[in-house]
Amino acid sequence: MSDTLQKEEQIKASINAAFRSAKVSIQRKGRIIVEFRGGILPAFASYLKEYLNFKHLSMISGVDWPEDNQFELVYHLWSYEQSIHVMVKVRLDREAAKTKTLTPLWEHAETYEREIHEMLGVEFEGHPNMRDFILEDWDDLPPMRRDFMTREYVDEVYEWRKGREDAQDVRQTIAEQYNTEVPNFNNEDK
């Protein structure tokens, strides 16, 4: 078992030696997860790229964690030589979500960062081209935030197609079938 994870263990040891605050775990053969603090991300990414040969940025994704009041950015890096996939996870404060751009290291990070900016509202300092991405004239909450109420938005924005007026409420239909009424105790004083 140990020799099959040799490469991964080596990488883990190197990262730990260089960046003490990085929390490295080996998920399985060929996949490493690094949890890292946001502030010096470009330095860490540059270290992975130049010293550990993770030359390719596959993609960047963003996750909303309102429970922790944080956003999580996940940078997926790939090393062709070692066939290893590293996920660098960075947590940002949800109220002031800001981090440095990785465009100096990988030019194509520009597109991913633009998307995340639009969908979650994360700022990327130093980004050369933070224009609208795919949403036109969006002035609402960024739509991939979990507190964005899709149904409310849909109700407000889109028209109701004609022919849908005969929609029934299941609970009400059942109550009527048996001549019963569902009382409402929702607004009663306690």
């Binding site: 899709t150 889109y158 929609a167 299941v170 109550a175 105790f185």
Partner: protein
């Protein structure tokens, strides 16, 4: 030589001749879509139960529930089916992943253009039955979005249980109840199966929202004995639960029990509004669930209610028949005390026909409700049945519940396979006897609840299925042993369930101290005067009533086991609640 290679190069293209081209072909050939492609919806109309979870979850408000010709509402089916607005759908597939029955899927068909906006509305399965062949995206088995596993209920261990009459089921803790309530998809199909049509999704919703007081209000809206139901209900609701189609149904009964157990005094929470006295009096014969329910809601409406009960306590069969390890006395008392607070007048130890005449009750009141239940046991019809220690389960349970000491000896045989038989067996175990149940059909044919049967087996009750009692053998006027024969199951000529047929010569003798018969009960109408018996319509031992529980005599109403065929507590409560409407209508609206 150099030039030969150059001359051959054009021919190397020949190798592509046999390969399938990637370019568009004419005439047009459709390419296969990706696996799990998400195109138009398809719905198995027969499997779908109309729960509306798809409509509830849809973030684009693209799904309506509508009535469809040919789909009838019924037990566990709202009769509605989904219709998709494909102009709104974003094919996220949440509806498919949330579908409790797995009837909804997405197909690999996706082409549709039309200038007619109405054509974007699709009733899956009805408008596109041919797409059944094209199903591609179905519910994920590996990562279900619904929670299919019930929060387990803690129980006393079998060996521990037989030592006393302590309650077996321990009830949910707060966090367990919240977790269980969260599994509910809030569809309301359970209401279709509940005889009393309780507000189940509402009270489960309130428990999930951590508002137990609100849950209690919903529960008491049409059930005044919810703690009893929370412990012993036959819970038809759970048999139709949407989640039950692919997983374990929501523990509706245990959640009701949880809500009621949170409050030592329901009055403090419910703070019921009692109407001004309306001057009308109602007499109720029998203090069982039917009579108590009618009494409670009549009292709330300002009627003057008197309940007459022959036994020393109210509760009817729930007091006399159900053993205390299932339904403890203090729980019953709590509910009865609350009813007294509301103003229901109760008279225990008053047997109508003996301590007070029926005519007097009828003359003193404007209407009468009869909820006497089935308390007279059927006899087995065996030789030796009149021997000492050959007793009836229903009498046995009543005596134990009243607090009499009953000696059943060391070995007991119970005859029958219903809940009463199981109760008698489990009580005998607690009195220290070795117990055998003799049942004429197979275990799976037993009318008793499966968990009662399982509970009995856990406690060491021995069940002999397909055993038909032949004779009770006595010695000195006392039961000594029982002779029974084994039976084989033969198909019924009339198309009913298989019947047991005695196998010649396969007879056994079992040494016993007590034989307990439990093959059914009937009502005792001897308290009714002859004129009333002549006028009152009774069919097969049951009083005939209309929708509002009114009998053939206008001022007499009836409910409970002596009226309905389901013969359980919740049906009796439902009868009582309906009779309140009937009595109010009869006495107040002319």
């Amino acid at each position: 030589m150099k030039n030969i290679k150059g001359a051959l190069v054009p021919f190397s293209a020949l190798k592509y001749l046999g390969k399938k081209p990637h370019t568009v072909r004419y005439p047009f050939e459709k390419k296969k879509t990706a696996e799990r492609y998400r195109g138009f919806h398809f719905n198995e109309i027969e499997v779908c139960i109309g729960c509306g979870t798809c409509s509830t979850i849809c973030q684009n408000e693209a799904i309506d529930m509508i009535k469809i010709e040919g789909v009838e509402p019924g037990r566990g089916d709202s009769g509605l089916r989904p219709r998709i607005d494909n102009g709104r759908c974003c094919w996220c597939g949440l509806c498919v992943d949330m579908c409790p029955t797995g009837s909804l899927s997405l197909t690999d068909q996706y082409l549709h253009t039309s200038p007619d906006p109405d054509s974007y509305l699709l009733i899956p399965g009805v408008d596109n039955p041919e797409m059944k062949e094209n199903i591609s995206f179905t519910k994920s088995d590996t990562e279900p979005l619904l929670q299919f596993d019930r929060v387990p209920m803690r129980e006393l261990d079998g060996a521990e249980r037989v030592k006393s009459f302590a309650e077996v089921v321990l009830g949910y803790m707060q966090e367990e109840a919240r977790a269980e309530a969260t599994r509910c998809v809030d569809c309301g199909l359970c209401v279709t199966a509940c005889p009393d049509h309780m507000h189940i999704p509402e009270y489960i919703g309130a428990i999930a929202e951590a508002d137990d007081a609100k849950a209690l209000k919903y529960i008491y809206d049409n059930n005044p004995l919810p703690e009893m139901c929370g412990k012993v209900c036959t819970r038809q609701c759970e048999t139709v639960c949407a989640i039950g189609h692919l997983g374990e149904p929501i523990a509706i009964r245990w959640l009701k029990r949880y809500a009621t157990e949170q409050f030592p005094d329901p009055a403090a929470i419910l703070n019921p509004k009692i109407a001004e006295p309306n001057g009308k009096k109602v007499g109720i014969v029998g203090g069982g669930p039917a009579g108590l329910s009618a009494g409670y809601y009549l009292a709330l409406r300002g009627f003057d209610v008197n309940i007459y009960e022959a036994l020393p306590r109210m509760g009817g069969m729930t007091f006399a028949g159900i053993p205390k390890y299932r339904f403890p006395l203090d729980s019953l008392d709590k509910q009865i005390d609350y009813m007294k607070k509301v103003g229901v007048k109760m008279h225990n130890n008053v047997r109508v026909g003996k301590d007070i005449t029926f005519d007097k009750i009828r003359n003193d009141n404007d209407a009468v409700f009869i909820g006497i239940g089935f308390h007279v046991p059927y006899t087995l019809g065996l030789t030796g049945e009149d021997l000492e220690n050959s007793i009836q389960a229903i009498d046995f349970l009543r005596r134990v519940n009243i607090g009499e000491t009953v000696d059943v000896g060391k070995k007991v045989v119970v005859i029958g396979g219903g809940n009463v038989a199981i109760d008698a067996a489990r009580v005998s175990r607690r009195l220290g006897a070795e117990v055998t149940i003799l049942y004429r059909r197979r275990v799976e044919d037993m009318p008793a609840d499966w968990e009662e049967i399982e509970g009995a087996e856990d406690e060491g009750v021995h069940i002999v299925p397909q055993g038909i009692p032949l004779e009770i053998i006595g010695e000195n006027g006392k039961v000594k042993s029982i002779k029974y024969g084994m039976a084989e199951m033969v198909p019924d000529d009339k198309g009913g369930r298989p019947r047991p047929k005695l196998i010649e010569g396969d007879e056994h003798i079992l040494e016993v101290d007590t034989v307990i018969g439990a093959i059914g009960q009937e009502a005792d109408y001897s308290f009714l005067p002859k004129e009333i018996m002549d006028e009152l319509k009774i069919e097969r031992g049951r009083v005939v009533v209309n929708e509002l529980k009114q009998t053939s005599i206008p001022d007499i109403f009836a409910g409970g086991d002596n009226v309905n065929r389901t013969m359980d507590a919740i049906s009796a409560i439902a009868d009582g609640v309906r009779a309140v409407e009937g009595i109010s209508h009869y006495l107040l609206d002319e």
